[in-house]
Symmetry: C2
């Protein structure tokens, strides 16, 4: 008799590796509804405990990819390179990087996600722009990439349906933090987008899913390895997520900061990270011969304003209000705006990304549960950065709120995020911690 | 906000002990349908990996008990003592022991189960008797115990509904072999039957769920400990299941052997085990002061024929055909009866219980899946026992079959179960391996 689903669960439970047909049959059965949620969640928990080899993870990725349609990108002639971030606080890099990489000559078909917990989502940020549509058909998506070089959209129901189903299930069964499941979820969607290369930004620190450098490197290596074995050239940067990126966290607030960055006036960390990632995308595409040349080119393109033009075109093609670029008041704005004051004079020694993320969550900028709705207007702006000098009574950050009952908790969280030291501190943690190319492993 | 089910799953997944309200809310939610199967199976798999302390197991047992009704046994004045076996091949002990313990003055309200895999089930055996009903209401069950001292019935839907649901789920999600889940399943049902004491027969060997002595002792100790902490005096024997018990395996065939045993003509191992368990039941009930006195009394009662009378009364009260006691031809009989011949002369050195169990399964005496139906007529009879002398060409056992297409495989399995050595072998493994009273731990 053919394999029963419970036999496959028992095999993984007992630490035996699963073979191709077992992984394929299980995922296929789950996608079509033949295998119920309760068997999938039991297998997911067994995978959480016993892991998967890099071969099994590749097989799982392929099985998930084959559960649905792939995007037909044959009409796009430019090298198709995407970037994916494991998620952090104030992480608006995609919004700047997509248009920048397009302005540098690449095609960026970016399928992005929504925020959950303290982690923001690129789609939520873009949806704060009046009219911006993230529910495109595959054809519309490819057309927009063809026209302006970049489109940032949501996963369509036909792309990797196994992942849509499995992700929702993992969310409610305690099976999110499993590297093979994370890797298969990310890589199946990237493979479905028909990419020529992928750059990963693996966040590491209090505001990230991976708290330690070792965990972030494990995830990055697993992603790079599955990229290699499935024929998608992939490289990863492990980057710091102990303090938020830039000076804002919250959807519309981050759009304003992204536009300023595309205008050439971005905060140093956001600009550095965006240029570093863009340079890797250009090298992966063989558009530039080395990182130094590529970085220089990306930096000059950002300053030129060309990327802002791509962003404006992308907005318009997605049905968004192009006017927000020159008039941020067209974006949703919070009713209450209140500064957080420094209690002492000195140098900022720490800005705890997790606490800022929690303050945003309390204000309604994020979701506790996937079914929650998001308030696009609220969040934190004008944050001071580690190493900067502040004077007692000076503002450390500004809260934007529509919820009077949440202000007290949000203020406490935000105030506790900032530490001030008497003497100047060296910002020991570099922004880029490690690079994983899959070549030295 | 109150605990979400996934938070409880995550806690167990991360190795933290669960507290009373978490266990109670989860089981209550699962029973009422508020918590879906996919969260229960994820928690069950996390329990498989991280286990449960004896305190958590007791809380789980209580939560399951409280999911339904309990049997009102207040009308029964005799001490109510039951026996539970972890299951084996040819294990018809309950069918002899229930009536025997009743004949010794105890009340035996026995809620029993069906077979799965190579393990037979007491209910399947009894259902081979024409008319015997195992689906009784709690009231009918108590009435029969009141009238003849013993009733062997199926779990009613209102008794521990959480276990009915969870057991079916575990069966298809690879979460059966988890000691805390096994213990809570057994002990919740025993507590619901309103017992004064419980004797356990934990089988150990090739034909048992627990293959090693260490595993059997772990299960036995966990059961005895939960009995202690929930106020149900419990003791356990760990007994050998490397060769089948008695000389038959298969439903109607085992009824015939049980009746012969109740008549005083039983095989030595079945009689020894039944007396040993009955003695412990009498001591737990404080009906006899020590094991020697109790064993002697049980042995005399078995020889007296009084237990056979109780069995006949129990049959009749369950709607069964009382005539089977004097006329075994009233039981279902197989179309084909074929002996397995000894290939050489010597002493039987091994009868592999697992292989005999598989032969029975192939013939249709058991279930591969819980939804399979059972052929009551088929199985193996007249098995030689370890230590007995056989001559080449003599019968080692007789197969009873209704499936021509299964005979070849069944014969191969049955033949492979028997090993014959040139010289007499000492039967090193004692029948009773270890006793667990919970007092020496």
């Amino acid at each position: 008799m053919s394999m029963l689903p419970q036999w496959i669960i028992e095999k993984k439970r007992d630490g035996e590796p699963l073979v191709e047909s077992e992984i394929r049959d299980f995922i296929q059965g789950y996608t079509t509804g033949l295998i119920p949620d309760y068997q999938m969640s039991a297998l997911a928990m067994a995978i959480f405990f016993n892991g998967m080899s890099s071969e099994e993870t590749s097989l799982l990725t392929r099985a998930m990819l084959e559960s649905g349609e792939t995007v037909n990108t044959s009409s796009i002639t430019r090298p198709k390179i995407d970037k994916h971030s494991s998620g952090g606080i104030g992480d608006k890099v995609s919004i700047v990087l997509g248009p920048l990489a397009a302005a540098c000559g690449l095609a960026v078909p970016m399928i992005s996600g929504r925020g959950l917990g303290i982690t923001g989502g690129t789609l939520d940020k873009l949806e704060s722009i009046p009219g911006y549509r993230t529910a495109l058909s595959s054809k519309e998506f490819v057309d927009i990439v063809g026209k302006c070089g970049c489109s940032i959209t949501a996963q369509t129901p036909r792309i990797v349906p196994a992942d849509r189903k499995l992700y929702a299930l993992r969310d409610v069964t305690g099976t999110v933090p499993s590297i093979p499941l994370i890797v298969a979820s990310i890589m199946s969607k990237k493979l479905a987008a028909g990419l020529d290369g992928l750059v990963l930004d693996i966040k590491c620190g209090t505001g990230a899913f991976m708290k330690t450098r070792a965990d972030a490197c494990s995830l990055g290596s697993a992603l790079v390895e599955v990229g290699r074995s499935t024929g998608l050239p992939t490289r990863a940067l492990v980057t710091d997520m102990n303090q938020p990126i830039g000076r804002t966290a919250g959807n519309a607030l981050e759009i304003v900061e992204s536009i300023e960055t595309l205008r050439g006036n971005g905060p140093e960390d956001l600009v550095t990270l965006t240029i570093a990632l863009c340079a890797r995308m250009l090298v992966l595409a063989r558009a530039k011969r080395d990182l130094a040349t590529a970085s220089d080119y990306a930096a000059r393109t950002l300053k030129s304003g060309k990327a802002l033009g791509v962003f404006a075109d992308m907005l318009a093609l997605h049905g968004g209000e192009r006017g927000v670029i020159d008039d941020p008041s067209l974006l949703p704005r919070a009713r209450v705006v209140k500064p957080i004051m420094a209690a002492s004079t000195g140098f900022v020694s720490r800005v705890d990304a997790e606490k800022i993320g929690k303050a945003c969550l309390v204000l309604g900028a994020g979701r506790r549960l996937t079914t929650d709705t998001v308030d696009h207007a609220v969040g934190v702006s004008d944050m001071v950065k580690v190493g900067e000098h502040v004077t007692a009574g000076q503002s450390l950050a500004t809260l934007h709120s529509n919820r009077d009952d949440a202000m007290f908790e949000a203020e406490e969280l935000a105030a506790a995020a900032f530490s001030i030291a008497g003497a100047a501190v060296s910002t020991a943690q570099p922004l880029i911690i490690e690079e994983l190319t899959g070549e030295d492993s």
